[in-house]
């Protein structure tokens, strides 16, 4: 029961919305499509659902070519960013609706509705109309409908984007549990790197209509194979700088010299880019021999538990993120410590050359 995209692409007029893409989603897997708005997440989902027809390539489900098969004929569910429910039906009827369409027996419908309602903590609200529910409950109803249908493919298009921060956190906790015992394929689109990380599963990073990398989420986060993937999968944005490797040193800009990391030692001398995640730049504790960076503080965001500092070095803005509250005076010079060992070294073309676990 795998879903396979074979050299699928989508063009609308002269615009390429999705460049040639091949993907294989396994049954029982949770797959995240991560990218900014307009990166192609929704388009890719529409292609998977059969709402759109690919311009080239084919889509295979469970060994069958389903490229031209209309969405009604395919056993799938979709949940959107907007809370889409039938406003004139009760929560119960909303959840039951796909089952009624499918002609499931009455008793079976009741059993399934009760079961998913229990799972999503909607049991006390079954008689109410969607308009009488909070945003979180409305989205739970939409999720319940998708679950009750027992689809083999569930597509979730930024379902938490319109929810309050804390509700988002709660549902984010619940979601993977909901799908845990099902053998369905889940595809989940999001713009937030942190969300992808917490879900785990697999991640496909998308950028300008291209899937730049696909694999287990933590692998992609810890070993992005291109600079683009690293940028997509980084929140706050990853620091990127041009460097020159010369022997045992890497030279950043004009004057800053760092010892070369263990992983990068084998690299030929020359020009590269280095990517350093903000939390690998932390306040300097005065330890000898560590790589440091000095800059003028532009903005300090102290959130109560962590400090995020934007500082300028030779005209480039760097960001550091550290646990705890550290006093940073805006406009002052500050010295920070860089964990070079955890940096990624990319070639001029943006391919990963060294670094990453």
């Amino acid at each position: 029961m795998t879903l396979e995209l074979r050299q699928v692409s989508k063009r609308v007029g002269a615009d390429v919305h999705i460049h040639e893409t091949s993907l294989m989603l396994e049954p029982g897997s949770f797959n995240i499509l991560l990218g900014t708005t307009l990166a192609g997440k929704t388009t890719l989902m529409k292609l998977m659902a059969g709402l759109d027809r690919p311009s080239t390539g084919s889509i295979w489900f469970d060994g069958q070519n389903v490229t031209g098969v209309s969405v009604q004929k395919r056993n799938l569910s979709m949940v959107y960013q907007q809370f889409i429910n039938y406003p004139n039906l009760s929560v119960y009827e909303n959840i039951a609706s796909p089952l009624r369409v499918a002609g499931v027996a009455r008793r079976e419908i009741d059993a399934r509705v009760q079961e998913v309602a229990e799972l999503l903590r909607l049991t006390p609200m079954l008689k109410r109309r969607p308009s009488e529910l909070s945003g979180g409950q409305q989205q739970r109803t939409a999720l319940a409908r998708a679950l009750a249908k027992e689809s083999s493919l569930i597509l979730l298009d930024e379902p938490l984007a319109n929810l309050d921060y804390k509700l988002r956190e709660e549902l984010r906790d619940e979601l993977p549990k909901l799908f845990a015992d099902r053998n369905c394929i889940v595809a989940y689109a999001t713009t937030e790197a942190s969300e992808a990380l917490l879900f785990g599963g697999n991640t496909a990073t998308l950028h300008e209509g291209r899937v730049t990398q696909f694999g287990p989420t933590s692998t992609i986060y810890r070993r992005p194979n291109t600079l683009t993937s690293a940028r997509v999968f980084s929140d706050p944005p990853i620091n990127v700088a041009r460097i020159r490797k010369a022997g045992d040193e890497i030279v950043v800009g004009e004057r800053v010299r760092w010892p070369v990391g263990r992983a990068a030692r084998h690299l030929a001398d020359g020009d590269y880019s280095i990517g350093i995640r903000p939390h690998h730049i932390t306040p300097h504790r005065g330890n000898e021999g560590s790589a440091t960076i000095e800059g003028r503080v532009l903005v300090a965001e102290l959130s109560g538990s962590e400090s995020v500092v934007h500082f300028d070095m030779d005209g480039q803005t760097w960001v550091s993120q550290s646990q705890g509250i550290h006093p940073f005076e805006v406009g002052s010079l500050t010295r920070l410590q860089v964990d070079v060992e955890r940096g990624f070294i990319f070639s001029a073309d943006g391919d990963l050359m060294a670094g990453g676990d």
């Binding site: 031209g68 098969v69 209309s70 004929k73």
Partner: protein, 287 residues
């Protein structure tokens, strides 16, 4: 598999296709047929080529009717669109008066057209009509059955009464769809009433107004029932608009060929002007 679905879909579309064929395509083709043939009745036809078209396009009578038609449409557009907009802007947005206003506005739209004509016919009669009597009483010499100006005045007034509501309702719906934040932002920015209208309401009503103008243009260009009931095209030919003229030629004189040609010219004029309106308004949007 996909094909099966498509073919089944055709079955559902078929009734509509037949319906459209019966009430649009077949009559239209009949008219085209008439417009290029000469007939003396008894279903005897002979080929006339473009004679009728030449005749219609060179006929002074047609020019006069067209001019009247354009004038009428221009006058009612100039009155109804701004008036409708002003009324819509001043309608309440919340509270019990909303429904009262909406019902009042919808009322003229619910009255059959021939009844509207008859109502105004009686209303404007100089001897027993409220309007006609009243105007004469305050010193205006007013008789729409004799004075062309009075006839025009009554005709315009009737159309404004009948159709401004449509513009009001469209604009009102458009205004209601503007989020509150816009008004709040304008307040905060210190914008006065005029600036709010000019920079928020008018731009947001653009599409609605385009629709309103198009609808009013097409409808007024085809005005027939009310006019024929009210003045019958008179006095003389003062209010003989295109549709009335067409009716006179086709059913009064039974000149089916010229009438057919005129119908097509009439149809093409509406099509052309509508297209022109639409593209002009949409183009200014893009700039």
């Amino acid at each position: 598999m996909n094909k099966v679905v498509n073919q089944r879909a055709w079955i559902f579309v078929l009734p509509v296709v037949l319906l459209v064929a019966f009430n649009a395509i077949i009559p239209l083709m009949t008219v085209v047929n008439f417009s290029v043939q000469e007939t003396f009745g008894d279903n005897v036809f002979s080929w006339a080529g473009l004679t009728w078209f030449e005749q219609v396009l060179h006929s002074e009578r047609f020019h006069a009717a067209l001019l009247r038609q354009l004038m009428f449409t221009a006058i009612i557009l100039v009155i109804e669109i701004p008036l409708g907009l002003v009324i819509a802007l001043n309608m309440p947005r919340k509270g019990p008066w909303v429904s009262v206003c909406l019902v009042l506005m919808a009322l003229p739209l619910l009255i059959p057209w021939n009844v509207v004509g008859a109502m105004w016919n009686i209303f404007a009669l100089p001897d027993i009509g409220l309007l006609g009597r009243g105007l004469n009483w305050i010193g205006f010499e007013y008789n729409y059955t004799r004075q062309p100006f009075a006839a025009w005045f009554t005709m315009v007034l009737m159309d404004v009464w009948h159709w401004t509501s449509l513009v009001v309702l469209l604009c009102y719906a458009g205004l209601m769809s503007i989020p509150d934040a816009y008004y709040q932002a304008a307040k905060v920015d210190g914008a006065r009433r005029w600036a709010v209208f000019r920079h928020i309401q008018l731009p947001k009503l653009k599409y609605v107004l385009t629709i309103a103008i198009l609808l009013r243009f097409m409808d007024s260009f085809m005005i027939y029932t009310e006019a024929i009931v009210l003045t019958g095209g008179g006095p003389g030919n003062a209010t003989t608009f295109l549709s009335i003229d067409l009716q006179k030629i086709a059913l009064g004189q039974f000149d089916l060929g010229p009438a057919g040609a005129m119908s097509i010219v009439y149809f093409l004029i509406i099509l052309l002007l509508s297209w022109l309106f639409y593209t002009l308004m949409m183009r200014s949007e893009e700039k």
